[in-house]
C-alpha cells in the first residue's frame, strides 16, 4: 500500500508506474502534493499560485480516462508538475515574478505547457522566480523570496529557486524551469536537485516570457536524472512557432538515462575538466566534493582529461552585456498599454509619462539596473565596444567548446562556486551576485546543453554541492547517460538519494500559515 507520504517522496517515474498499474489514482497523487504544499509552502514559498481545484479536476479526468482504458494516455499521464511563472498559462496568472504583470492571465499557453497538458500531466501551480529571471537567489521576486528547504535562512538559487525548492521540498515530483545563464542548474546545485538546460533550440521558447532571447532555454527540474529525461521527452522537439527551434528529431532522453544506470556506462567516456572553472574562487567543500566525484568517474572507467578553455574567463563579461542588451529590448513591451500594470502620475500625464511612471513602479531594482545597462550597451557610440565585442567573445567561447569536444565527450565543472548563501548576503552587491553563474554561463553563450546534479554535502556547512556536465550541441542524450551513471554510483554509496538527508520541514497544521 502506498501512503500519501510515499506519494510525495517517490520519483515521477515510480509514480507514473503506480498510476499506470492502477495502484494509486492521479487524484490521490495530486491531493498528496497539494496537502504537502499546504503544509510547508508557508515557509518555503516555492509557489506564487496554486491551482488546487483545476489540478484535482484534471486528475479526476485522467483517472476516468484510465478507467475507460484510454490507450492514448502518455507515460506520465496523471503525474503532477510545477511550472515556473515565466511560462504563459491560459488558466493561471503568469507574472514572471514581476509586479508589472501582477494578475496577468495570458490568452494562450506556452508550447511547453500545451505539451504538458496534451501528455495529461497535472499542473499544480506556478513557481516563484527572480523578477524576469534576473538573479541567482530568487530574492529579486516581487512577491518575496523562496527559501532553501535545506536551511530556510538560505537562498534556493535563482532565478528558478521556486521550481528547485518545490522539487526539493517534495511539493512537486518535477517542474519546468528556464535557464538563461544558470537559472536551472545553479538552483539545482544548492538544493540537491537535478536540472537540465537543453541545447538552445531543443525546447520551444514560445510562451516563455523572454529575458535574453539568444540565451533563454526551457528545461526540466527534478529529483532524479531519469525524471528530468522523462519531462524533457514531453517538452522537447521542434516548434514552428519558435524560429530558433531546431527542426531535428531527437532520441529518447529517458532511454539515454536508463542506459546510464547499466553496468559500465562510463567505460571509455572521456571527461574534460575545464582548467579555468576549477580551483580558484571555489568554496573548499565544493572543490573537495567535485574532486571526489571525478575520482568516482575515473573508477567507473572514465578518462579524465584537463581542458584549456582560455576564453571562458571572458564569459561573464560577455554575458552581462548580451543579456542586458537583449533584455532592455524584450522588456520594452511592458508599457501599460496592452497588459499589466498602469501607474498614472499624480494629476495624470501624457502617455510617455504614464509609461515611465509604470515602469518605475513596476520593475524592481535589478531589472532597472539591467535595462539601463543594456540600453547603454546598445546605444550609439558604444555598440561596437560593448555589444559588438561581446558577440565576438561568444564566437571565441564557441571555438573553445569546439576544440574541447574534439578531445572529450563531456566537460565537467562544479555547478556553482559556493553552497547556498544566506538571504540578503549578496543582495547589495550585484557583481558578487553575478559570479554565482561563473560555471553555467559558458553553456548558454555557446548554446550547448548542461546538466546539474548533486554530488554530496560540503563538509564545512553541510549544504548540497552540485556538479555540471556539458555536451556538444544536440548531444543532450549523452548528458542523461553520464548524469544517471554518476547518480547511480553516488546513491549506491549514500544508500539513497541525497535529499533524504535534508532536514524535515516543519509542517503547518490545518489553518496554519500561508
Amino acid at each position: 500500500m502506498t501512503t500519501a507520504n510515499d506519494l510525495i517522496h517517490i520519483s515521477a517515474a515510480d509514480l507514473a508506474e503506480r498510476l499506470s498499474s492502477g495502484e494509486v489514482s492521479s487524484v490521490e497523487a495530486t491531493r498528496a502534493h497539494l496537502d504537502r504544499i499546504e503544509a510547508v509552502d508557508g515557509d518555503v514559498h516555492a509557489y506564487l499560485h496554486v491551482a488546487a481545484d483545476a489540478a484535482l479536476e484534471r486528475a479526476a479526468e485522467v483517472d476516468r480516462l484510465r478507467a475507460e482504458g484510454d490507450a492514448g494516455l502518455g507515460p506520465l499521464a496523471g503525474v503532477p508538475v510545477a511550472i515556473k511563472d515565466v511560462l504563459c498559462t491560459i488558466d493561471m496568472p503568469s507574472t514572471a515574478g514581476s509586479r508589472i504583470l501582477e494578475g496577468w492571465v495570458p490568452p494562450y499557453d506556452a508550447t511547453v505547457v500545451r505539451k504538458l497538458r496534451e501528455a495529461h500531466l497535472i499542473p499544480l501551480g506556478k513557481t516563484n522566480m527572480d523578477e524576469f529571471a534576473m538573479g541567482s537567489s530568487t530574492e529579486h521576486s516581487a512577491y518575496g523570496p523562496t527559501r532553501n528547504p535545506w536551511d530556510l535562512d538560505r537562498i534556493p538559487g535563482g532565478s528558478g529557486g521556486g521550481s528547485a525548492a518545490a522539487v526539493a521540498a517534495f511539493e512537486a515530483p518535477f517542474a519546468l524551469g528556464s535557464d538563461t545563464g544558470g537559472s536551472i542548474r545553479q538552483p539545482a546545485a544548492v538544493t540537491a536537485s537535478v536540472g537540465v538546460k537543453p541545447t538552445y533550440g531543443g525546447v520551444s521558447r514560445y510562451g516563455a516570457i523572454a529575458l535574453a532571447s539568444s540565451l533563454d532555454q526551457v528545461g526540466p527540474v527534478s529529483r532524479t536524472v531519469l525524471d528530468s529525461a522523462l519531462l524533457h521527452d514531453v517538452i522537447g522537439g521542434h516548434d514552428p512557432r519558435d524560429s530558433t527551434s531546431i527542426p531535428d528529431t531527437w532520441p529518447s532522453m529517458a532511454a539515454a538515462a536508463r542506459a546510464g544506470r547499466r553496468e559500465g556506462a562510463m567505460k571509455g567516456m572521456r571527461v574534460g575538466v575545464v582548467k579555468q572553472l576549477n580551483g580558484e574562487g571555489f568554496q573548499a567543500g565544493v572543490t573537495q566534493r567535485f574532486t571526489e566525484a571525478l575520482a568516482l568517474l575515473e573508477e567507473a572507467g572514465a578518462e579524465i582529461v584537463e581542458i584549456d578553455a582560455p576564453h571562458f574567463e571572458y564569459a561573464i563579461a560577455a554575458y552581462y552585456l548580451i543579456l542586458p542588451a537583449e533584455a532592455s529590448s524584450n522588456l520594452a513591451k511592458f508599457d501599460s498599454v496592452r497588459f499589466g500594470l498602469r501607474v498614472n502620475p499624480p494629476g495624470g500625464g501624457t502617455v510617455e509619462q504614464v509609461m515611465s511612471a509604470t515602469r518605475e513602479a513596476g520593475f524592481g531594482p535589478e531589472v532597472k539596473r539591467r535595462i539601463i545597462l543594456g540600453t547603454y550597451a546598445l546605444s550609439a557610440g558604444y555598440y561596437d565596444a560593448y555589444y559588438g565585442s561581446a558577440q565576438k567573445v561568444r564566437t571565441l567561447i564557441q571555438r573553445d567548446f569546439d576544440a574541447a569536444f574534439g578531445r572529450v565527450d563531456v566537460l565537467v565543472t562544479p555547478s556553482a562556486p559556493t553552497t547556498a548563501f544566506r538571504l540578503g548576503e549578496k543582495l547589495d552587491d550585484p557583481l558578487a551576485m553575478y559570479l554565482n553563474d561563473l560555471t553555467t554561463i559558458p553553456a548558454n553563450l555557446a548554446g550547448v546543453p548542461g546538466i546539474g546534479l548533486p554530488i554530496g554535502l560540503a563538509p564545512e556547512d553541510g549544504l548540497p554541492v552540485g556538479i555540471q556536465f556539458m555536451a556538444p550541441a544536440r548531444a543532450d542524450a549523452r548528458l542523461y547517460t553520464v548524469g544517471a551513471a554518476l547518480e547511480q554510483i553516488l546513491e549506491d554509496r549514500w544508500g539513497g538519494p541525497l535529499l533524504s538527508q535534508a532536514p524535515e520541514l516543519a509542517v503547518a497544521t490545518a489553518g496554519g500559515t500561508n
Binding site: 504614464v354 509609461m355 548554446g447
Partner: protein, 99 residues
C-alpha cells in the same frame, strides 16, 4: 575607468522610459560604472578578425507558409488591458507628432 555620469544615466532612463528617482540615478551611476569597468574586458580579445555570433545554433531560412491561422478574439485581446474603449486600447494623450 568608465566615465558614466548621472546625466548619462538620466538620458538612458529616458530612452528606456523609466522615471528614476534622483536617489536611483545616483546609486545606478555608481553601480553601472563598476559593472561597465568589469564587462569592458570583452574588448581585450574582441579583435577585428573575430566574427560576431548572434545566434548560438546557426540556422538559416526558417520560414512559415503564408496560411492564415487562429486569431485572438477582441475580448481576449483586450482582457488584460489596463483601459480600453470601443474595442481599442486606451492611452492618455500623446504629445508629439503623428508617426
Amino acid at each position: 575607468m568608465s566615465e558614466i555620469t548621472a546625466e548619462q544615466v538620466a538620458h538612458l532612463a529616458h530612452l528606456a522610459r523609466i522615471e528614476l528617482s534622483p536617489e536611483e540615478i545616483e546609486s545606478l551611476t555608481k553601480e553601472l560604472g563598476s559593472i561597465v569597468d568589469n564587462v569592458a574586458k570583452v574588448t581585450e580579445v574582441a579583435t577585428p578578425n573575430v566574427p560576431a555570433t548572434s545566434h548560438p545554433i546557426p540556422l538559416v531560412n526558417i520560414f512559415r507558409p503564408d496560411v492564415v491561422g487562429e486569431t485572438l478574439t477582441q475580448e481576449q485581446a483586450l482582457r488584460g488591458a489596463p483601459e480600453h474603449a470601443e474595442g481599442r486600447f486606451k492611452v492618455s494623450a500623446i504629445l508629439g507628432e503623428e508617426q
